[in-house]
Structures are given as structure tokens and as C-alpha cells.
């Protein structure tokens, strides 16, 4: 007993309606799949991107704002730490490195970040840098996704964006970091002395000294917005965080801020999940009502099958298979389209934010499709049942 040939013949008989149903179910499924796959990919990518940034120490302020500034390089106003506190942080013995960071400049929309070479070798995870590390204040290393060539000279502009707020002079690109999977892949990384000089601040070195990087002379240190502090053990990490949570500084792990953000995202995801399921249920209901209407067209054909010797059960199986073919076909199309949409959105996010997103079809997406198929399998009985109950001669006269 094979109910598929008549079910597929019915689907072919009303090709346009079948196509419409497939598109409808496919769109609803794609929406759900794309949202869940994208949300998970974003969560994983943001966690991956925050991972190398150790403990962030900065002036008092919102941890989320600081995270967005330091890790994701989103422009946010930050308090500057006074030189005496900065000197204490720089002298922190429990840290494997202490890297000051400075923001606020850009070239053609690409953020320029001032820092030290030690942070860059840490981000590169000891992989070789293409070209070489910066050795002078006006040299730069670029992230792997920056569309500039080594040897190019670019103008640093004050601010981030297209508005021309004044030039800070030329920077020469001397190296390129390997991909780090962080927002820093889309940044121009300069010695922090360049950022200080560009803003007419002292460079941390006394008059006549044109070296870059530590040690700095506390007497010549300007205010610093934030530090990225490395550690080699969990006790050290927690000790550092504890030590710099003072009235004048704040310290946090990027992960702890992300956990809070994920909790909010999780609520949103749960809400979106419910909305997506509701959308799918509505679509299945629409398909169901359409199927009931189509059943009326097919009732004579089904009665003929009965007259030729098909059992009631067979006719029930034919109609159930027909509706399930639509639901399953739509779900499959939706799964593929949803995955495709997530890929496209991810590439846009990667381009915009520098995060490496890898959306994939996982348990959540399969559960979503499974729920749709389960719902479809149940409601598919309804139109079949309406015909199942009527004697075939009713439709043969």
C-alpha cells in the first residue's frame, strides 16, 4: 500500500497552490531557523571574540559600555584613569601583561586603536605577523579583515565615522595580524603613543625620548581610558579583578558581562521562539484550511479510489500524506532557506563588526522543524478525517 503516488498526483494537479503552501510554510520555518541559528552564532562568536581580553580595568562606568568599547570597538564615551592610578595598574605584578588601550580615531570608518605590541602578540596567539610589528609611533599593524595593504600610508582622523573632524597625521602600515575572530580584525592598531601624540598629550616618555611601549615615566603619563590585563591562572584572574574594583576603578571579565547580556538575549530568544512557533501554527492552520478546501476538489477522485477497491485507511493515508508532503516539503525548504539567510546575515555582521559567525543547523533548529512536523502530522488528519467519514457513493453520483 503506497499512498504517495496519488498524494503527489494531487500536489501536481494544483501546482500553484502547492507552491504557495510550500513558500508559506518555508518562509515561516526559515524565519524561525534563521533567528535561532543566528542568535546562537552571535552568542558563540561574541564569547569567542571576548575570550582573549583577560580582565578589563577602567574608570567607573557601565561594564556593558566598557565591553562594547574595548572588546567590540564600538564608540562610547569613557572616563580616563588618572596617571597615578594608571601607573599602579601598569606595575601590577600578578598580571602577565598590562596593555593600555586608547580609542577615538579612525581612518575611512575603520577604528584606530592605540595599544602595545604585547597585546597584539597575545591576540595573535603567538602566530607570526605578516610583515612586522610596529616599532615607531607612526607605524601600524592592521587586523586581518582591514582592506589595506602593507606599506600603505593612511591619514588618521579624529572621531569614528565619516565626518571630517580633523586629521592626526599619517600612519604607515607595516604588518598584518593573523585572524583573531575578534572585532580587532577590523581595526588599525597603532602604538598608544601615536594616540597620545595625536591628541597633543604627553607620550609617557620624557622629553627627547621617542621609543614606544613600556616602561613609561609616571610623570609623563596621560589619562588612559582602559587596560587589558592578562593573567596565567584563575586565582590570579580573580585576584586582579578583586584588586581593581575600587572606588576609582572597575574591573571585570568580559564573559561575566556577556552572561548578563545573554540572559537578556535568552529572554528575547524565548519570546521569539514562542512567536516563531505561533507563526508556524498559524501557517499550518492556513494550510489546513486550504487543504480542507482542496479536499472538496479531490473528494470525487478519492471516492473513485474507494470504488476501485481502496480501503478507508488507504484514503486516509493518501490525504494525510498529501498534507504532510506540503508541511515536510515546506519545512525542508525553510530549513535550507533559514540556514542560507543566517549565513548571509552572518557575513554582513562579520563585515560590519569583525566577528566571525558560524551559524549552523543545530538541535534548536531541528527541534523547531520537528515541532512543525509534529503539529502538521496531527492537523493533517483533520481534512483526511472529513473525507474518511463520508461514504464514497456520496461523491460518485
Amino acid at each position: 500500500m503506497n499512498p504517495l503516488p496519488p498524494a503527489l498526483a494531487f500536489a501536481r494537479a494544483n501546482g500553484l497552490t502547492t507552491l504557495l503552501f510550500l513558500v508559506l510554510i518555508g518562509c515561516a520555518t526559515a524565519l524561525g531557523v534563521a533567528v535561532t541559528a543566528q542568535e546562537r552564532a552571535l552568542r558563540e562568536a561574541s564569547a569567542r571574540a571576548a575570550d582573549p581580553f583577560g580582565v578589563i580595568v577602567a574608570g567607573p562606568g557601565s561594564h556593558t559600555d566598557l565591553l562594547m568599547s574595548v572588546v567590540y570597538l564600538q564608540p562610547n564615551p569613557t572616563h580616563l584613569l588618572p596617571p597615578e592610578i594608571s601607573s599602579e595598574i601598569l606595575a601590577e605584578r600578578r598580571a602577565t601583561f598590562v596593555a593600555p588601550v586608547a580609542f577615538g580615531d579612525s581612518h575611512a570608518g575603520v577604528p584606530i586603536v592605540g595599544t602595545v605590541s604585547r597585546l597584539l602578540t597575545h591576540l595573535a596567539d603567538d602566530r607570526p605577523i605578516e610583515g612586522r610589528m610596529f616599532e615607531r609611533a607612526e607605524e601600524a599593524v592592521i587586523g586581518s579583515r582591514v582592506l589595506l595593504e602593507i606599506g600603505a600610508e593612511v591619514v588618521a582622523q579624529h572621531g569614528v565615522g565619516l565626518a571630517d573632524e580633523g586629521d592626526h597625521g599619517l600612519i604607515r602600515i607595516v604588518g598584518r595580524l593573523p585572524e583573531t575572530g575578534t572585532a580587532w580584525d577590523r581595526a588599525i592598531l597603532v602604538p598608544i603613543e601615536f594616540s597620545w601624540l595625536a591628541h597633543s598629550l604627553t607620550t609617557g616618555h620624557g622629553p627627547g625620548v621617542d621609543t614606544i611601549g613600556p616602561p613609561w615615566d609616571p610623570a609623563y603619563l596621560p589619562g588612559i581610558p582602559a587596560f587589558i590585563v592578562g593573567y596565567d591562572s584563575l586565582p590570579a584572574a580573580y585576584a586582579l579583578r578583586q584588586a581593581w574594583r575600587t572606588g576609582e576603578t572597575t574591573a571585570f571579565f568580559p564573559a561575566e558581562v556577556l552572561v548578563t547580556l545573554y540572559a537578556i538575549l535568552g529572554d528575547v530568544r524565548a519570546l521569539m521562539g514562542v512567536l516563531t512557533l505561533a507563526t508556524q501554527a498559524l501557517v499550518v492552520a492556513a494550510v489546513l484550511s486550504g487543504s480542507v478546501a482542496l479536499m472538496q476538489l479531490y473528494r470525487t477522485r478519492l471516492a473513485v479510489l474507494r470504488a476501485l477497491g481502496a480501503t478507508r485507511l488507504y484514503v486516509l493515508a493518501v490525504m494525510w500524506s498529501y498534507v504532510m508532503t506540503l508541511v515536510a516539503g515546506g519545512a525542508l525548504v525553510g530549513l535550507l532557506v533559514g540556514w542560507g539567510v543566517a549565513q548571509v546575515v552572518s557575513s554582513v555582521i562579520a563585515e560590519e563588526a569583525g566577528l566571525v559567525l558560524s551559524p549552523r543547523i543545530g538541535g534548536a533548529e531541528l527541534a523547531l522543524v520537528g515541532a512543525l512536523l509534529g503539529l502538521g502530522a496531527l492537523v493533517a488528519f483533520l481534512p483526511a478525517w472529513t473525507l474518511f467519514r463520508r461514504p464514497p457513493v456520496t461523491y460518485l453520483r
Binding site: 496519488p6 498526483a9 473513485v304 474507494r306 476501485l308 477497491g309 480501503t311 478507508r312 461514504p391
Partner: protein
């Protein structure tokens, strides 16, 4: 052999009053015969045909085909009996437009726990024997006469002992009608029981017996059939 006794079936009209659709005391037909059932519209001809095939439930009565009393079978067993024993031909063919002629013939294979591939040679042979061009892939490419013969081939796929046909020539031209009548005659001569509802004088002429149905009651009309000559 077909034997039907005391068939009773009544429907209610719009006002709720019941009227007899079938009130047949006795009907018998032998294998190897072509019987034509005539009667005015609404006289119950199609209902009788469906009752004899086990599709129409009766208020009372017994239909027996050989040793099998189909009115006493469960619905599933009646379906199986019909599938294996009866070939039904409809006035409006009831073919599946989206399928090729040969796939239409193979439709009963879908629900017969059978292999379409194994029955394909038989379907091809039937279509060729009935003069239907098997090379045509679309049903719409066939004339109405050819489509009726596809429906006939479908009815014959499992070589049924009984052919029940409802107005089989009503929508055919003269030539196509003559071909179908010749085929029915041949099937009866081969030993099948053929019972057709028809007003077609040519089919009546070719029949062994002609039965008339009026207000659900059956009378034999001698002198119209081949048997009377």
C-alpha cells in the same frame, strides 16, 4: 453467478418523507452474460450498481456473488473483494489527469500491495489490445473514446470476473461507442459477467438480457436484447 434478494433502500426527500430507491425482490445474472439495465433518470440504476458492488449500504437485503455474500462482509473485506473481483467503469471515466494513460491503468496497484513495475507489461498489453496509443504521455492527448478505453483497461487490470459499467457509452461518439460495446460483448463471451447501466440502443442490442428499473422496482424487458432474437 450474481444473486440479489429482497434489496431495500429508501431515502428521505426534502420534506422528510421516505421514498423507495430500491425495492427488488430478486435479481440473478450468470457469468458469461452481458446484461443491460435501463430506466429513466432517478430510477435507481446507479444506486443498484453501487449496491451490487458493495459500495452502497442497504436498508435490507442480500447480495451474493458465487459463494460470497458481500452484504455480510466487513467494509475492509468488501473493499478487498471489490478490488479483486470487480472492474468498475464510470460514465465520466474518473481518470487522473496528471498521470499518463499507462499510469492511470496502474492506479489499482497503489492500494493493492502490488508492484507497479510487475503490472506494467499487463497494463501495456491491455492498452494495446484496446487500441490506445501507449506512447502518449499525457491523458489530455487522448480522445474521449481513447480515455474511456483507458478506464476500461484500468477496470480489467486484475482480470476481474465481473464488470460493472455505468453509462459506459454515454459520452462517446458512434465509432468509440461501437468499439466499447464490442469489447463488452467479447468480455462476456470470454466468461465474465458484464452488467451495464445504459440507454444506448446499440448496447441493448448487444446484450443477452435487458432489465428495466422504475421507482426502484425491476422488470425484465424481453424482445429488446440479443437473447430475444
Amino acid at each position: 453467478m450474481l444473486v440479489a434478494r429482497d434489496l431495500r433502500l429508501a431515502f428521505a426527500d426534502a420534506a422528510g418523507a421516505r421514498f423507495d430507491v430500491l425495492a427488488i425482490d430478486h435479481l440473478a445474472a450468470e457469468r458469461g452474460s452481458l446484461t443491460v439495465l435501463t430506466g429513466p433518470s432517478g430510477s435507481g440504476k446507479s444506486t443498484l450498481l453501487y449496491a451490487l458492488s458493495g459500495l452502497q449500504a442497504l436498508d435490507a437485503g442480500e447480495v451474493r456473488w458465487g459463494e460470497t455474500e458481500i452484504t455480510g462482509l466487513s467494509e475492509a473485506r468488501r473493499d478487498r473483494w471489490r478490488r479483486e473481483t470487480v472492474g468498475l467503469v464510470f460514465q465520466s471515466f474518473h481518470l487522473v489527469d496528471e498521470l499518463s494513460p499507462i499510469d492511470n491503468v496502474l492506479v489499482p496497484v497503489w492500494f493493492g500491495h502490488l508492484s507497479a513495475r510487475a503490472h506494467r507489461p499487463r497494463a501495456t498489453e491491455l492498452l494495446e489490445a484496446l487500441g490506445v496509443p501507449t506512447a502518449r504521455r499525457r491523458l489530455a492527448d487522448l480522445s474521449r473514446g481513447e480515455q474511456q478505453r483507458v478506464a476500461l483497461a484500468r477496470a480489467l487490470l486484475f482480470d476481474p470476473a465481473v464488470i460493472l459499467a455505468d453509462e459506459p457509452t454515454a459520452s462517446l461518439d458512434r465509432a468509440a461507442s461501437a468499439a466499447v460495446i464490442a469489447r463488452f460483448r467479447a468480455m462476456a463471451d470470454e466468461g465474465r459477467l458484464v452488467l451495464a447501466v445504459s440507454h444506448d440502443p446499440a448496447l441493448i442490442d448487444a446484450a443477452d438480457r435487458v432489465l428495466a428499473l422504475a421507482h426502484g422496482r425491476l422488470t425484465e424487458t424481453p424482445g429488446q436484447s440479443r437473447a430475444a432474437e
